[in-house]
Assembly symmetry: C2
Homo-oligomer: 156 residues x 2
Amino acid sequence: MEKDRIFLTKAIEIASNAISEGGGPFGSVIVKYGIIISEAFNRVVLNNDPTAHAEILAIRQASSVLRSHDLDGCALYSSCEPCPMCLGAIYWSGIKKVVYSCDRTDAENAGFSDKLIYNEIMLDPSKRKISFIRLTDSGGEEVFRKWDEKENKIMY
Amino acid sequence: MEKDRIFLTKAIEIASNAISEGGGPFGSVIVKYGIIISEAFNRVVLNNDPTAHAEILAIRQASSVLRSHDLDGCALYSSCEPCPMCLGAIYWSGIKKVVYSCDRTDAENAGFSDKLIYNEIMLDPSKRKISFIRLTDSGGEEVFRKWDEKENKIMY
Protein backbone atom coordinates (compact mmCIF):
# COMPACT_ATOMS: atom_id res chain seq x y z
CA MET A 1 0.00 0.00 0.00
CA GLU A 2 2.88 2.35 0.81
CA LYS A 3 4.39 1.50 -2.58
CA ASP A 4 1.02 2.20 -4.22
CA ARG A 5 1.17 5.72 -2.77
CA ILE A 6 4.68 6.27 -4.09
CA PHE A 7 3.78 5.22 -7.64
CA LEU A 8 0.52 7.22 -7.56
CA THR A 9 2.40 10.31 -6.37
CA LYS A 10 4.72 9.89 -9.35
CA ALA A 11 1.72 9.72 -11.75
CA ILE A 12 0.29 12.89 -10.17
CA GLU A 13 3.64 14.66 -10.48
CA ILE A 14 3.74 13.75 -14.20
CA ALA A 15 0.20 15.13 -14.63
CA SER A 16 1.15 18.37 -12.90
CA ASN A 17 4.31 18.84 -14.98
CA ALA A 18 2.35 18.10 -18.18
CA ILE A 19 0.41 21.36 -17.84
CA SER A 20 3.47 23.54 -18.38
CA GLU A 21 4.57 21.35 -21.29
CA GLY A 22 1.33 21.85 -23.25
CA GLY A 23 -0.16 18.50 -22.26
CA GLY A 24 -3.50 17.71 -20.65
CA PRO A 25 -3.64 17.39 -16.82
CA PHE A 26 -3.40 13.61 -16.61
CA GLY A 27 -0.42 11.35 -15.86
CA SER A 28 0.11 7.58 -15.66
CA VAL A 29 2.84 5.11 -14.84
CA ILE A 30 2.93 1.34 -15.37
CA VAL A 31 4.79 -0.86 -12.91
CA LYS A 32 6.07 -4.42 -13.25
CA TYR A 33 8.17 -6.26 -10.64
CA GLY A 34 8.09 -3.08 -8.53
CA ILE A 35 9.73 -1.01 -11.27
CA ILE A 36 8.24 1.74 -13.43
CA ILE A 37 8.46 0.47 -17.01
CA SER A 38 6.57 3.32 -18.70
CA GLU A 39 5.20 6.76 -17.93
CA ALA A 40 3.20 9.27 -19.94
CA PHE A 41 1.03 12.36 -19.80
CA ASN A 42 -1.93 13.34 -21.96
CA ARG A 43 -0.74 14.52 -25.41
CA VAL A 44 -4.09 14.83 -27.28
CA VAL A 45 -3.49 18.43 -28.37
CA LEU A 46 0.31 18.14 -28.66
CA ASN A 47 0.10 15.08 -30.95
CA ASN A 48 -3.18 15.88 -32.76
CA ASP A 49 -4.39 12.50 -31.52
CA PRO A 50 -7.67 12.09 -29.61
CA THR A 51 -6.49 8.68 -28.38
CA ALA A 52 -3.28 10.05 -26.79
CA HIS A 53 -4.46 9.81 -23.18
CA ALA A 54 -1.81 9.20 -20.52
CA GLU A 55 -2.99 5.60 -19.95
CA ILE A 56 -3.08 4.70 -23.66
CA LEU A 57 0.43 6.08 -24.21
CA ALA A 58 1.75 4.32 -21.09
CA ILE A 59 0.18 1.01 -22.22
CA ARG A 60 1.61 1.34 -25.72
CA GLN A 61 5.05 2.14 -24.32
CA ALA A 62 4.95 -0.74 -21.81
CA SER A 63 3.92 -3.16 -24.59
CA SER A 64 6.81 -1.92 -26.66
CA VAL A 65 9.27 -2.35 -23.76
CA LEU A 66 7.99 -5.88 -23.00
CA ARG A 67 7.57 -6.71 -26.72
CA SER A 68 4.12 -8.13 -25.99
CA HIS A 69 0.51 -7.07 -26.27
CA ASP A 70 -0.04 -8.84 -22.94
CA LEU A 71 0.70 -6.75 -19.84
CA ASP A 72 -0.36 -9.40 -17.32
CA GLY A 73 1.48 -8.78 -14.06
CA CYS A 74 1.57 -5.00 -14.57
CA ALA A 75 -0.22 -2.37 -12.46
CA LEU A 76 -1.30 1.05 -13.70
CA TYR A 77 -1.25 4.22 -11.59
CA SER A 78 -3.13 7.23 -12.83
CA SER A 79 -3.76 10.74 -11.53
CA CYS A 80 -7.45 10.31 -12.43
CA GLU A 81 -9.89 7.43 -12.91
CA PRO A 82 -9.38 6.07 -16.45
CA CYS A 83 -12.05 7.14 -18.98
CA PRO A 84 -14.02 4.41 -20.82
CA MET A 85 -11.50 4.37 -23.69
CA CYS A 86 -8.61 3.81 -21.28
CA LEU A 87 -10.64 1.35 -19.19
CA GLY A 88 -11.22 -0.70 -22.33
CA ALA A 89 -7.51 -0.56 -23.15
CA ILE A 90 -6.69 -1.76 -19.62
CA TYR A 91 -8.95 -4.81 -20.06
CA TRP A 92 -7.47 -5.63 -23.47
CA SER A 93 -3.94 -5.27 -22.08
CA GLY A 94 -4.39 -7.80 -19.28
CA ILE A 95 -3.48 -5.31 -16.52
CA LYS A 96 -5.22 -6.51 -13.33
CA LYS A 97 -4.70 -3.59 -10.92
CA VAL A 98 -5.42 0.13 -11.30
CA VAL A 99 -4.78 2.79 -8.64
CA TYR A 100 -6.02 6.36 -9.10
CA SER A 101 -6.59 9.64 -7.27
CA CYS A 102 -9.37 11.83 -8.78
CA ASP A 103 -12.53 10.37 -10.30
CA ARG A 104 -14.82 10.98 -13.31
CA THR A 105 -16.75 13.69 -11.42
CA ASP A 106 -13.55 15.62 -10.66
CA ALA A 107 -12.66 15.32 -14.36
CA GLU A 108 -16.10 16.60 -15.34
CA ASN A 109 -15.72 19.59 -13.03
CA ALA A 110 -12.41 20.34 -14.76
CA GLY A 111 -14.20 20.39 -18.15
CA PHE A 112 -13.63 16.85 -19.46
CA SER A 113 -16.17 14.41 -20.95
CA ASP A 114 -15.24 11.25 -19.00
CA LYS A 115 -18.52 11.08 -17.08
CA LEU A 116 -20.63 11.87 -20.14
CA ILE A 117 -18.96 9.02 -22.04
CA TYR A 118 -19.51 6.61 -19.11
CA ASN A 119 -23.20 7.53 -19.22
CA GLU A 120 -23.43 7.17 -23.01
CA ILE A 121 -21.72 3.77 -23.10
CA MET A 122 -24.38 2.27 -20.83
CA LEU A 123 -27.18 3.24 -23.23
CA ASP A 124 -28.50 1.09 -26.03
CA PRO A 125 -26.58 2.15 -29.20
CA SER A 126 -29.81 3.54 -30.72
CA LYS A 127 -30.28 5.93 -27.75
CA ARG A 128 -26.89 7.64 -27.79
CA LYS A 129 -25.94 11.21 -28.81
CA ILE A 130 -23.80 9.70 -31.59
CA SER A 131 -25.69 7.98 -34.39
CA PHE A 132 -24.97 4.21 -34.27
CA ILE A 133 -26.37 2.39 -37.29
CA ARG A 134 -26.18 -1.38 -37.62
CA LEU A 135 -26.64 -2.75 -41.14
CA THR A 136 -27.41 -6.38 -40.34
CA ASP A 137 -27.51 -7.84 -43.85
CA SER A 138 -24.10 -6.45 -44.79
CA GLY A 139 -22.03 -9.64 -44.61
CA GLY A 140 -19.69 -8.94 -41.66
CA GLU A 141 -20.30 -12.40 -40.16
CA GLU A 142 -18.42 -13.91 -43.14
CA VAL A 143 -15.21 -12.42 -41.67
CA PHE A 144 -15.66 -14.22 -38.34
CA ARG A 145 -16.37 -17.47 -40.23
CA LYS A 146 -13.04 -17.07 -42.03
CA TRP A 147 -11.35 -16.30 -38.68
CA ASP A 148 -12.87 -19.43 -37.11
CA GLU A 149 -11.39 -21.58 -39.88
CA LYS A 150 -7.89 -20.10 -39.61
CA GLU A 151 -5.46 -22.46 -37.94
CA ASN A 152 -2.66 -21.55 -35.50
CA LYS A 153 -4.06 -18.10 -34.82
CA ILE A 154 -2.97 -16.09 -31.80
CA MET A 155 -5.95 -15.00 -29.71
CA TYR A 156 -5.77 -11.73 -27.81
CA MET B 1 -27.80 4.91 -47.22
CA GLU B 2 -26.46 3.38 -50.43
CA LYS B 3 -23.15 5.14 -49.77
CA ASP B 4 -23.16 3.79 -46.21
CA ARG B 5 -23.32 0.27 -47.65
CA ILE B 6 -20.41 0.93 -49.98
CA PHE B 7 -18.16 2.24 -47.19
CA LEU B 8 -19.21 -0.57 -44.84
CA THR B 9 -18.45 -3.16 -47.52
CA LYS B 10 -14.97 -1.65 -47.82
CA ALA B 11 -14.43 -1.96 -44.03
CA ILE B 12 -15.55 -5.61 -44.15
CA GLU B 13 -13.22 -6.30 -47.08
CA ILE B 14 -10.31 -4.83 -45.07
CA ALA B 15 -11.25 -7.05 -42.11
CA SER B 16 -11.34 -10.12 -44.32
CA ASN B 17 -7.98 -9.37 -45.94
CA ALA B 18 -6.44 -8.71 -42.51
CA ILE B 19 -6.73 -12.39 -41.57
CA SER B 20 -4.24 -13.54 -44.20
CA GLU B 21 -1.89 -10.68 -43.25
CA GLY B 22 -1.64 -11.75 -39.60
CA GLY B 23 -4.09 -9.13 -38.33
CA GLY B 24 -7.24 -9.55 -36.26
CA PRO B 25 -10.59 -9.90 -38.10
CA PHE B 26 -11.69 -6.30 -37.82
CA GLY B 27 -11.55 -3.43 -40.33
CA SER B 28 -12.52 0.25 -40.30
CA VAL B 29 -12.59 3.23 -42.62
CA ILE B 30 -13.16 6.90 -41.81
CA VAL B 31 -14.95 9.11 -44.32
CA LYS B 32 -15.05 12.91 -44.65
CA TYR B 33 -16.77 14.82 -47.47
CA GLY B 34 -17.68 11.45 -49.02
CA ILE B 35 -14.04 10.38 -49.29
CA ILE B 36 -12.16 7.69 -47.34
CA ILE B 37 -9.42 9.52 -45.44
CA SER B 38 -8.11 6.57 -43.43
CA GLU B 39 -8.44 2.80 -43.22
CA ALA B 40 -7.00 0.18 -40.90
CA PHE B 41 -7.28 -3.37 -39.63
CA ASN B 42 -6.60 -4.79 -36.18
CA ARG B 43 -2.84 -5.03 -35.54
CA VAL B 44 -2.76 -5.97 -31.83
CA VAL B 45 -0.57 -9.02 -32.33
CA LEU B 46 1.38 -7.67 -35.31
CA ASN B 47 2.35 -4.45 -33.47
CA ASN B 48 2.55 -5.84 -29.91
CA ASP B 49 0.02 -3.17 -28.99
CA PRO B 50 -3.26 -4.00 -27.19
CA THR B 51 -4.68 -0.62 -28.28
CA ALA B 52 -4.11 -1.27 -32.01
CA HIS B 53 -7.75 -1.96 -32.89
CA ALA B 54 -8.91 -1.04 -36.39
CA GLU B 55 -10.94 1.94 -35.14
CA ILE B 56 -8.13 3.35 -32.98
CA LEU B 57 -5.63 3.11 -35.84
CA ALA B 58 -8.10 4.66 -38.31
CA ILE B 59 -8.81 7.52 -35.87
CA ARG B 60 -5.11 8.16 -35.29
CA GLN B 61 -4.44 8.14 -39.02
CA ALA B 62 -7.39 10.45 -39.81
CA SER B 63 -6.22 12.89 -37.10
CA SER B 64 -2.78 12.85 -38.63
CA VAL B 65 -4.17 13.48 -42.15
CA LEU B 66 -6.38 16.35 -40.91
CA ARG B 67 -3.71 17.60 -38.48
CA SER B 68 -6.33 17.89 -35.76
CA HIS B 69 -7.51 15.92 -32.76
CA ASP B 70 -11.05 16.93 -33.76
CA LEU B 71 -12.71 14.65 -36.33
CA ASP B 72 -16.05 16.48 -36.34
CA GLY B 73 -17.75 15.88 -39.69
CA CYS B 74 -16.24 12.42 -40.09
CA ALA B 75 -18.12 9.10 -40.12
CA LEU B 76 -16.64 5.74 -39.11
CA TYR B 77 -17.50 2.41 -40.76
CA SER B 78 -16.50 -0.76 -39.00
CA SER B 79 -16.92 -4.47 -39.72
CA CYS B 80 -18.03 -4.95 -36.08
CA GLU B 81 -19.57 -2.82 -33.34
CA PRO B 82 -16.75 -0.84 -31.70
CA CYS B 83 -15.60 -2.18 -28.31
CA PRO B 84 -15.74 0.15 -25.26
CA MET B 85 -12.16 1.34 -25.86
CA CYS B 86 -12.98 2.29 -29.46
CA LEU B 87 -16.36 3.73 -28.46
CA GLY B 88 -14.57 6.00 -26.01
CA ALA B 89 -12.09 7.03 -28.71
CA ILE B 90 -15.00 7.84 -31.06
CA TYR B 91 -16.55 10.18 -28.46
CA TRP B 92 -13.22 11.89 -27.78
CA SER B 93 -12.61 12.32 -31.53
CA GLY B 94 -15.87 14.17 -32.21
CA ILE B 95 -17.07 11.61 -34.81
CA LYS B 96 -20.89 11.76 -34.83
CA LYS B 97 -21.84 8.76 -36.99
CA VAL B 98 -20.85 5.10 -36.78
CA VAL B 99 -22.04 2.32 -39.14
CA TYR B 100 -21.24 -1.32 -38.40
CA SER B 101 -22.11 -4.88 -39.39
CA CYS B 102 -21.57 -7.50 -36.64
CA ASP B 103 -22.20 -6.74 -32.97
CA ARG B 104 -20.60 -7.49 -29.58
CA THR B 105 -22.34 -10.89 -29.37
CA ASP B 106 -20.92 -11.96 -32.75
CA ALA B 107 -17.48 -10.83 -31.51
CA GLU B 108 -17.95 -12.86 -28.30
CA ASN B 109 -18.86 -15.95 -30.33
CA ALA B 110 -15.64 -15.46 -32.30
CA GLY B 111 -13.64 -15.47 -29.04
CA PHE B 112 -13.25 -11.74 -28.27
CA SER B 113 -13.89 -9.90 -24.98
CA ASP B 114 -15.96 -6.96 -26.28
CA LYS B 115 -19.16 -8.00 -24.50
CA LEU B 116 -17.37 -8.86 -21.27
CA ILE B 117 -15.78 -5.40 -21.21
CA TYR B 118 -19.15 -3.73 -21.91
CA ASN B 119 -20.55 -5.62 -18.92
CA GLU B 120 -17.58 -4.73 -16.68
CA ILE B 121 -17.64 -1.02 -17.53
CA MET B 122 -21.20 -0.69 -16.27
CA LEU B 123 -20.26 -2.01 -12.83
CA ASP B 124 -19.14 0.10 -9.91
CA PRO B 125 -15.30 0.13 -10.02
CA SER B 126 -15.18 -1.85 -6.74
CA LYS B 127 -17.23 -4.71 -8.27
CA ARG B 128 -15.10 -5.38 -11.36
CA LYS B 129 -12.80 -8.33 -12.20
CA ILE B 130 -9.88 -5.87 -12.28
CA SER B 131 -8.91 -4.32 -8.96
CA PHE B 132 -9.71 -0.57 -9.03
CA ILE B 133 -8.36 1.25 -6.00
CA ARG B 134 -9.04 4.91 -5.38
CA LEU B 135 -6.69 6.64 -2.94
CA THR B 136 -8.71 9.75 -2.14
CA ASP B 137 -6.24 11.65 0.00
CA SER B 138 -3.45 11.45 -2.56
CA GLY B 139 -3.51 15.01 -3.89
CA GLY B 140 -4.68 14.53 -7.49
CA GLU B 141 -7.18 17.40 -7.25
CA GLU B 142 -4.23 19.81 -7.01
CA VAL B 143 -3.52 19.05 -10.70
CA PHE B 144 -7.02 20.10 -11.79
CA ARG B 145 -6.68 23.29 -9.69
CA LYS B 146 -3.48 24.13 -11.58
CA TRP B 147 -5.25 23.33 -14.89
CA ASP B 148 -8.17 25.62 -13.95
CA GLU B 149 -5.77 28.50 -13.39
CA LYS B 150 -3.92 28.04 -16.69
CA GLU B 151 -4.83 30.70 -19.24
CA ASN B 152 -5.30 30.20 -23.01
CA LYS B 153 -5.57 26.44 -22.72
CA ILE B 154 -7.04 24.36 -25.55
CA MET B 155 -9.88 22.18 -24.31
CA TYR B 156 -10.48 18.84 -25.99
